[in-house]
Symmetry: C2
Subunit: 611 residues, 2 copies
Amino acid sequence: MNLRTAATGPVAPRRPARLNPAPSARFDPGSFLGAWQERNAEATIPHCVTNLETSGVLDNFRRLGDAGNDADFRGFWFADSDLYKTVEAIGWEIGRSGTDRWSKLLTETADLLESVQQPDGYLNTYVQGTEGEQPFARPERTHELYSAGHLLQAAVALHRGGGDDRFLAVARRFADLVVRTPPPIDGHPEVETALVELYRETGEPAYLRAAELQVESRGHGTLEPGRFGSVYYQDHLPVREATEALGHAVRQLYLAAGVTDLYLENGDETLLTAMEALWDSAFGTKLYLTGGHGSRHRDEAYGDPYELPPDRAYAETCASVAAVQWSWRMLLATGATRYAEEMERALLNTIAASTSESGTAFFYSNPLQLRTGHDGSGEDAPAERLGWYRCACCPPNLARLLASLHGYAATTDALGLQLHLLSAGTYAGPSMTATVETGYPFDGDIAVTVSGSGALAIRVPSWAAGATATVAGGEIVAPPAPGDYLRVSCGAGAVVRLSLPMTPRLVHADERVDAVRGCVAVVRGPVVYCVEQADLPDGVLVEQLRLDPAADIEPGDGVRLRLTGFARRPGPSLYGLAPGNTDTPLTFTAIPYHSWANRGPGAMRVWLPIP
Amino acid sequence: MNLRTAATGPVAPRRPARLNPAPSARFDPGSFLGAWQERNAEATIPHCVTNLETSGVLDNFRRLGDAGNDADFRGFWFADSDLYKTVEAIGWEIGRSGTDRWSKLLTETADLLESVQQPDGYLNTYVQGTEGEQPFARPERTHELYSAGHLLQAAVALHRGGGDDRFLAVARRFADLVVRTPPPIDGHPEVETALVELYRETGEPAYLRAAELQVESRGHGTLEPGRFGSVYYQDHLPVREATEALGHAVRQLYLAAGVTDLYLENGDETLLTAMEALWDSAFGTKLYLTGGHGSRHRDEAYGDPYELPPDRAYAETCASVAAVQWSWRMLLATGATRYAEEMERALLNTIAASTSESGTAFFYSNPLQLRTGHDGSGEDAPAERLGWYRCACCPPNLARLLASLHGYAATTDALGLQLHLLSAGTYAGPSMTATVETGYPFDGDIAVTVSGSGALAIRVPSWAAGATATVAGGEIVAPPAPGDYLRVSCGAGAVVRLSLPMTPRLVHADERVDAVRGCVAVVRGPVVYCVEQADLPDGVLVEQLRLDPAADIEPGDGVRLRLTGFARRPGPSLYGLAPGNTDTPLTFTAIPYHSWANRGPGAMRVWLPIP
């Protein structure tokens, strides 16, 4: 069986990787991830489609095809990418559900792209429609390759998901231009991973070489440094030397995904070594507990090591989407469970929190604390999710990730099948199919029924000390070890039961994370909890809470938890000698961080002070 | 004796205030503040003058007077203000020392201003020299009234300090234009306080009314909100309702100074009430221990209450300069010592730290922590002071504050003289002159010899519990109470000795200042201390330090201190269960925060964790 052509999700390596995406995977509609995919299809994608119209993104294309139309370009110069990401989401959704709901939109969009694309393959409605702009003349700003990368990814998704050829033809014409006349590197990485994916989908090696040229050309200071310096767009050091996560977080993570894609196809181990070092920097010194990346609002950037303020966390939704994409590639490259664990951390916390229960409102930045008295009047740090943003990169990015999420769940290798996301669902490898029944991530009991036979590996999270497993119809090859796999040799009809300990635990940050010193976070399984003002008694503010770390954490309603601690009355002055505070005993409710801000604006915090 | 005309420093109320600036004041050259003024005159002002030339500020004027000169405008659109602030510094310096060092520069500058100023009084080299710009057409951005305000203040300083009439005439022509054709409010407050000062200097009530119109017109959302919203320039609420410190910190504080100036002259108590509430917000919930204002780099703005990260403190130098100016006005309005104490906090910590020992390099932002591994490559958060900035607002702002600083030291009222800054020096009221001998701020013994007679009040800092006083030749009316005054009825030749306790103390922040939870700061008298990497033994990083709060703090070399604590080895992971850290006993040196970063780049922290 050809693993590559069978894959229906993102990343289909031509050169066999350490692990390869499972040829088929689906989540149960009732599972946490499956229900989320349904909401994405029913609410989020349609919401994005509506906003493509109202925000002017489609009109930006239409005005170019219409000589009598002198409407102004609307939105940011990379607004085309909103359309491409939405189309990509639709492509994956067609592959997932076979929907034809957006056939008309796709036809109209293909017509538009074909009419607007220049004979040489160039396509960018901002540059084409703006007096004085020239293609690739201002790569720091105009993001043409960034937008084109999303065009390529949309075409790949539509082709993989639904067999569409028209978008692929448009994408190839642009990529052929890039091959023929290599443009300078773009201020915003993204085309690298897209070119590799287009190579995978078409088999055209020139696209892989074009990706290689983009990667190797970065880091030599060829972009104008601008207000935030070369580091802002990772142009300060070549990728093999740039092993500290720095600059704009989304750019850093997209670039890392592209470099890892390149490694997956060209096997250059120096690239993988650099990516592993970069990973240690990003995930070992600059990661939020919730899977967010980026500590600074000013330049949407990584901060210094251990600079992780919960209140001013930028933690852009797109950065966590990019982190999942990079992690997936690192997982395929190495097979190490830590990459899947970080996918899960980001998914179930920052990314899940970024979308409202309705599926139609979104956070752009995802703080771990909102203070009483917060001024949430701007788009920068609103107290509630907004329906759309002037810079609308996040909503369609969520849509495309969610529509393809089942593609990140399981892998295969020569011996069998590996399960990474632990969701209820069905996952097929070449010789075996695994049906997973579980209430995970809220329940730790995971039952896997196998048809066919072979080696089954189930990821065991690093927090799951004390995990146990039983097997009927097979043999445990490696017992469940935290941060590794439960490995089972399965006969036909084998049933594997893995039990993960779900007792809530108190997590401490490294001593160098000054911003949360003296605090702990409540985490249950992979789910980070928070406390919201809405759950506190009158007269007690979130800022007054103190958690008693010795007290038991009790179950609350549904997935809620009941915590025990104190309400502290603050001292009289901003700065003084030893505080003489008064504590009142209190029990209070914690909710999953991913469900915060669904009851109106109000204070919230993940990290809770201990007395 | 006419108090107003005798005053030689900033703010000379026409309507007698609760306190009025002392008619004459000077610091001993050997005192901390006096030596600083000397360095300002010898190094900082000349450095500013040199940079006016090299940065193109003077050329911006010259090119307008020269038809054959087609040079581009250089710098930011408010670059004219760099010249005006430098001239203001020179004006105060002439008043202080009688120097004629800059006579030629002043003559050339007056020639330039007269040649460039339009017949209607308008003057702004950016707008006048830029195709398509119209006066006051884009008040959000072009800062014409901001720059003009600095012109007015320069003219007042030169007139008060040296009797110069030419700058005053230019300033009046601009102010007359503002009176004749009131422009919209400016995106950057500053003209309000300037117009009031020009009224004081000239007696022209139309300038006071123009200031009133500017103040009353703000807060009605007339400025285009822009990227950061109306709140960025305090246009979100009228000044009587805008009692939370919000938006760009320098703008907020300049506006507050202007509103307080207006109150001082028009006696509208509703303005003072609003300013007192605003004060409580700024200084009670948003103030750094070092006297810095502004928690956010993104928009150089105040954060939410208690959002005070030490590492990402913006704490712009100009904000603390503005805070001193506002505090001085509040002190004159009310007589309350807390305003003088905040002047002192800002001066001896943030403002003193902002300038290198050489007087020629400057911090724009003044963090309370610099991490190991900090990327200090940008102007935004450099690891060392820079000689100049693209936005060079701070250096000449320091120069003008320092040249006039003696004017902030003492006040008079109907009964006598009040001493606020406690520096060695000589301060004269209408009926008495006080000669102060002290090594303050490093020594707590303050001896005051009085000639003449009357009521002497000496500010007693709020931290000075246990202060004692003796008097020869007079009578103690009120003993030294922290946060109040020592009040003495002095006969001729009276000698008053005040002794302030200078034992180092450990300061805690309010429990809601999450960013420094579990930490203390070492403070001695009014001087905040910090620890620098340069003082630690090899192999111990600043991030590893823990202070033992029970251990004695010992004197070190000079003004240094020796602290006792531990070096902690961090745990193995970014997020984990209860940390199992290893501590090694250690003694280490602390230095005054104001002298940090004079030994090359390196990590630093003010707030020290306790175990």
